[in-house]
Amino acid sequence: MLAYLIRRIFNAVLTLLVVTLVTFGIFFMVPKLTGSDPALLYIGKTADAVSLEGIRTKLGLADPIIVQYGKFLKGLVVGRDYASGPDVTHCDAPCLGYSFKTEQEVTPLLLSDIPVTLSLAIGAAVLWVLIGVATGVLSALRRGTFLDRAAMTGALAGVSLPIYFTGLLASAIFIYWLGWLPNALYTPFLENPLLWAQGLILPWITLAFLFAATYARLTRANMLETLGEDYIRTARAKGLRERTVIGKHALRSGLTPLVTVFGLDFGALLGGAVLTEAVFNLRGLGYQALQGIRQNDLPIILGVTLIAAFFIVFINLIVDLLYGVIDPRVRLG
């Protein structure tokens, strides 16, 4: 078990390393190939040749790409110094460099965005798992009835409608038309939990609607498959109450495959729900990524990509470890 864990963590670190290599390569090599200049991006179009050169030296843009990558990795692990002449700026590990636009350090900037994204992802996840699974189970049990058809039609709508449609529609109805919710910005949970929830409820519902739809369909399919299994017939043949047959025997195996899907979805969401954050003006990682892309702010984009990759790899590691517990047929080691 311990050997397995160490091997998996090693693999996870390796995956992240490859992600840094690829993203770094793309973001810093492509400008070279296309002839655009990262230093110019950093300093703006009005720069003179001298300050441009200074920036190049400070950010190390003049170095070969391999050396730049090495310095970037070093910055990630132990931090790095940016020197331009006499003044040295130290950037603590994990250093993701400086924003080209705001000249702020990227790491603290992104870290401050994580609570927003985390609040959004966790709240939405709770909603979509509850709603999706409940709908899916009911649909499976009432297969072919009006309830089933209605739920599955709703789910189809949920899968098909994009966030920027449902999100805007929800805002228009609940904030501007009915006036039930304030057009509030994000309030930290610790500051005021009520305002926190009030500001997030619409994003939660919008995001959850999309995912709940997928989960309802998935749960329904899994449950229908499970209900046809021999061991469900055995459970009934033992004289168990239908409640136990469904609630214990069928759910146990019907929901297990959802864990994998949930890990993937949740991990990806922690890297930023770009559309939802943009629609509801939430300053999370997704919003930051969008800003970064708009402004050609390479360190920000690189930073968000890395954080997203980290969450996906990390959550998947947890899911894999969890699988050894929830499915006894999977032997870890």
Partner: protein
């Protein structure tokens, strides 16, 4: 419908002497998108305590559907329609409430399934599944149920039952898994045990052990046993009485010795002819029943066996347009051929080749 009972028992309706299990005119239909599946038609049979009834037939002949109907397991399928009467120990099960039947299931009547790997839950330990079966019928504590489950595991011959209690089904070998399944079925001392092809998924050497085990346990508990199989060897080994089913109907019914020594129906001849025998000269080929089982949605007119019957039409057009009734006393058969010609055909054409 003929009201003949097996083994010369008294006529149905006499409550004082009603057999332990009596199935009367059982009909099971499934409504599907393709049409109505006539899975079992007008089947009647009885089983007494301590006796074993073997039900044989090809896949889709209605064997399993019959046994699931006795257990009331079609109730959870909304498209299934069950008619007729099933009397278990003076209780009628077709008209009983779901709750009444549920309480009998796993208690007074239990079932051993064919493939124990798929019939056991993959995520619960074998012990937990047996404990669950016990506790649903007895309000026993977890500890008592555990002791009982370990006893049962030992009883069916599983070594180190204390340790195996916490194992999962996939950690058992095929034979041990079937033993565990039997332990689960017997944990409540059922008076009626239905075994649906209990040895089909097992090695031949293990098959014999499992059959011995079922026989021993039956003697110990005095249960009535229904043994569903397509293996005539198993029936010959265990059964007191035999039902031969074809296309959802009973086509021959009688004491095992009579059915094996003096089979009456051409289909039974075919089944016996399909059996490899080691104690005879090796022939070039077996004599299988030609053709394939009928579709239960669209049964052939008249005798449903007529498309495969080499003797169809010998008795005029009746084979093609009249459903034969199950006739006879202890040894009954549903065939249009007159008894004399059947005897003649069997002795001259069939028996020498068996």
């Amino acid at each position: 419908m003929s009201t003949d009972s097996l083994a010369g028992l008294t006529l149905p309706g006499d409550r004082n002497t009603r057999p332990f299990l009596e199935v009367k005119d059982l009909t099971v239909r499934f409504e599907t998108d393709d049409g109505v599946v006539q899975a079992v038609s007008n089947s009647s049979f009885v089983v007494e305590k301590g006796k074993t009834l073997g039900i044989v037939g090809e896949s889709g002949s209605g064997k399993s559907v019959t046994s699931l109907a006795v257990l009331g397991l079609h109730r959870t399928r909304s498209n299934a329609k069950v008619d007729g009467q099933i009397w278990l120990d003076d209780e009628e099960l077709v008209t009983a409430t779901d709750e009444q039947v549920r309480k009998l299931r796993g208690g007074k009547m239990a079932m051993i399934f064919q493939d124990p790997l798929s019939a056991m839950h993959p995520y619960f330990t074998v012990g937990a599944q047996i404990v669950e079966a016990y506790r649903v019928h007895h309000g026993a504590s977890r500890k008592d149920a555990r002791t009982r489950a370990i006893d049962m595991l030992a009883r069916v011959g599983i070594p180190q039952p204390e340790r195996r209690f916490s194992d999962y089904a996939h950690q058992f070998s095929g034979g041990m898994r079937q033993r565990a399944m039997i332990a689960m079925a017997l944990v409540n001392n059922p008076k009626l045990l239905i075994a649906d092809e209990p040895t089909t998924a097992l090695d031949v050497t293990v098959q014999a052990q499992i059959l011995d085990l079922i026989r021993d346990l039956q003697e110990e508990f005095g249960s009535a046993v229904i043994m569903i199989t397509h293996d005539l060897g198993v029936v010959a080994e265990l059964a007191d009485d035999v039902l031969v089913m074809y296309g959802g109907k009973i086509i021959e019914r009688g004491p095992a010795t009579a059915v094996f020594q003096d089979p009456q129906h051409p289909y039974t001849w075919g089944l016996l002819g399909s059996m490899p025998r080691l104690d005879r000269d090796v022939r070039e080929r077996l004599n299988p029943v030609k053709g394939s089982p009928p579709s239960l949605i669209n049964l052939p007119s008249g005798c449903s066996f007529h498309p495969r019957c080499p003797y169809a039409g010998r008795n005029g057009e009746r084979s093609f347009n009249e459903v034969p009734e199950l006739r006879g006393g202890m040894h009954a058969v549903a065939c249009h051929l007159p008894a004399e010609s059947r005897r003649e055909i069997f002795q001259q054409e069939v028996a020498p080749n068996l």
